[in-house]
Symmetry: none
Subunit: 405 residues, 2 copies
């Protein structure tokens, strides 16, 4: 048994966008040991799309498509399948009713064009889409399977989990391969490589994927045996220690949130150069209202003084970007809300605002408690404003994590 | 004339890696107006790869492959081409000489396996690779073209620039295509479709790409002629009006920022459910310190009262998620910093915290000036916490934009 994936949409054939939906599908296929033979992106051209479906179907037992299910005229997946398999479509009134109800709930009327989304094949299993208007479907043709999903990533993800994963688990007879992801903070990619040298030497022929992003470094262990994964994980932990902050779907903000919630502790933030990014990441976690009280975005010196109670004399003496002001931001916002921890960030994200003494990329980060504080000065030169901000928020979260421990 | 791209390699069919070589190729194709019909990634399996080449070649005038040219047994691109086209290969001693010289220059001897890289087709144009051992080649078969490149990105990039770009410029007559992107806010995808009906009716056979994301909707116009683009743009503006907020690389935050800077006006924010996302987007723009003073992330009721000076009685009477509190947040933060505008957001991002009267996805947004305010109540049910937050920040920026106008 093998599979092919088709992503539909001219917009993914330009120089700016890649198809990432296939990665989600692939993860499910990999879990159940179904090899992927090919994946393709096809333009919104009916004849090309129909030929692609026919070609992929001729070479694979399962074909998964994403995209091209919207209400507009360039959404051609349904028509391409009809042409490729010589099938007729008919209207399913219950789908129209669902879409109409969805629009009504939002206080608007369903545009006429959306009726196209109710065209179905006889014998198809319609996959209700709780996150959007386009339903997906599963169709069995000549003993093979076609799974059709919308292209909007969060809709596709939900539908994969709800419909495709259980189905694949059943027909494949259960879990074949396992993946364990170790999440690392506080080290660069080459720093991780360096620490893992003994691991590499011991397991030269085994697959190990290292992925680096501003959100941290991921180490992917993929094996058939859970025992092997557990053994390799232990070896890595011995080499990387507390730099491993979490596993699999953990993020630094979810791990910090869990630690705070377990301890019944709270946090407040005062950010300058990150402009709300740290607060946004902390509150990205569902349930964060249990431990996050509030924060200040102190872009202007006035805001630092007024919202985070920084002494204006301190700013005058050391400048807005300084250890003293970072610590004062952390202390001031902590006192304001009487939280367990206060986090302060001040720096120069660029591209303007740098000087010889304080070049673009200079950032001061502080974490304060009622009794003490931790401070870290960092420098990320030669990157972008966005990367400086991302790395600053990441470092602040990691400093907070280490302080909580 | 059109094109297809094939990336060769099982390693790009897992859940962690995407093929990015195709983006480089696509940029060249787009510049010279050659549409890409499909791109695919194929596993290192000879029969599958040969079929893919044949299929792509049957549908396109130019096929570009990357990868599978190395010396090892799973490098099968040459063999697949030979099988697909029924061609014989022969050894080119001059290539062996070059590879041997390359190894010698590095003080080692060429391994025997590398001789495979000297297998050539009669009539091919060999593309010398100054950055690696694998040469590429250009082959004309039945009046169509196959361009074969190695998969190592910096080798491929160099070879594209050196060989492929000048060739394409010549055969395409040097005519470049232009792309114009219109950015739309305040409408759903089907809302845009509905308004564009007369446009579609008038230009049924022209390509138009619509991309929807929480950051807004993009309309991509791609034509050979700048005059055509200007004409189509005018037609769209007549239908979409002020919903078009910008062009090409504009974002809603960069447009709002430009408007504020031009007018010498300022803004401050007070956010609850978006948790700093609005501030983060505003400050994502370089130079935003000229018009953004600061903001409050008022997650807890205490923070609403303390940072944004919301009357506790108002919260008691109407609840934290209400029009009254949204307006009070906007007014309070504006007064605090004496800015031209204040923006307030309060809502329920979920997944918890909803009720029958105020279900998850209910959000109140307000923009206040010294003399008046605008308010919008929105509801995004059935999505995720992240989407509710993203759409809330987007709507707040759009409300601010409209108020500034």
């Amino acid at each position: 048994m093998n599979a092919a994936i088709i992503a539909v949409g001219t917009e993914m054939l330009g120089p700016t966008r890649v198809d990432t939906n296939s990665l989600k599908v692939t993860a499910v296929l990999e879990t159940y040991g179904v090899p992927l033979v090919r994946k393709s992106v096809v333009a919104d051209i009916l004849s090309e799309l129909a030929d692609e479906v026919e070609f992929a179907f001729g070479h694979s037992d399962i074909v998964i498509t994403s995209g091209g299910l919207g209400p507009t005229e360039d959404d051609l997946t349904r028509e391409a399948l009809a042409r490729a398999f010589g099938l007729e479509m008919q209207v399913d009134q219950s789908i129209i009713d669902k879409i109409e109800a969805r629009f009504r709930a939002r206080g608007t009327t369903m545009p006429e064009v959306n009726k196209r989304q109710a065209n179905v094949f006889i014998g198809q299993t319609t996959l209700n889409n709780e996150r959007g208007t386009a339903p997906g479907f599963h169709l069995e043709v000549r003993g093979k399977h076609v799974w059709v999903f919308p292209g909007v990533p969060h809709e596709l993800e939900w539908m994969l989990e709800r419909y495709f994963t259980p189905w694949l688990a059943e027909i494949s007879g259960g879990v074949a391969r396992h993946r364990r992801v170790l999440k690392v903070a506080g080290l660069t990619e080459s720093g991780v490589e360096e620490k893992l040298k003994p691991y590499y030497a011991a397991h030269r022929d085994e697959p190990l994927t290292i992925l680096a992003s501003p959100g941290g470094i991921e180490l992917h262990l993929v094996f058939d045996s859970l025992d092997t994964i557990a053994a390799r994980e232990q070896e890595m932990l011995a080499l990387l220690g507390h730099h491993v902050f979490g596993y699999d779907h953990d993020t630094l903000e979810s791990v910090v949130g869990r630690m705070l919630a377990e301890r019944g502790e709270t946090v407040a933030t005062a950010e300058s150069c990150t402009g709300g990014l740290l607060a946004q990441r902390i509150t990205d976690v569902a349930g964060s209202s249990a431990y996050y009280i509030g924060g200040a975005v102190c872009y202007d010196a006035r805001a630092k003084v007024d919202l985070a109670r920084v002494d204006p004399g301190l700013i005058k003496a050391h400048g807005e970007v300084s250890e003293e002001v970072a610590v004062a931001l952390a202390r001031g916002i902590r006192e304001r809300f009487a939280t367990t921890y206060g986090v302060g960030i001040t720096g120069i994200a660029g591209p303007g605002g740098g000087s010889e003494a304080k070049p673009v990329g200079t950032v001061h980060i502080a974490v304060a408690t009622a009794t003490d504080h931790a401070h870290r000065k960092t420098f990320w030169g030669g990157t972008t404003r966005q990367i400086v901000r991302a790395l600053s928020a990441q470092t602040a979260l990691d400093l907070l994590r280490k302080r909580i421990r």
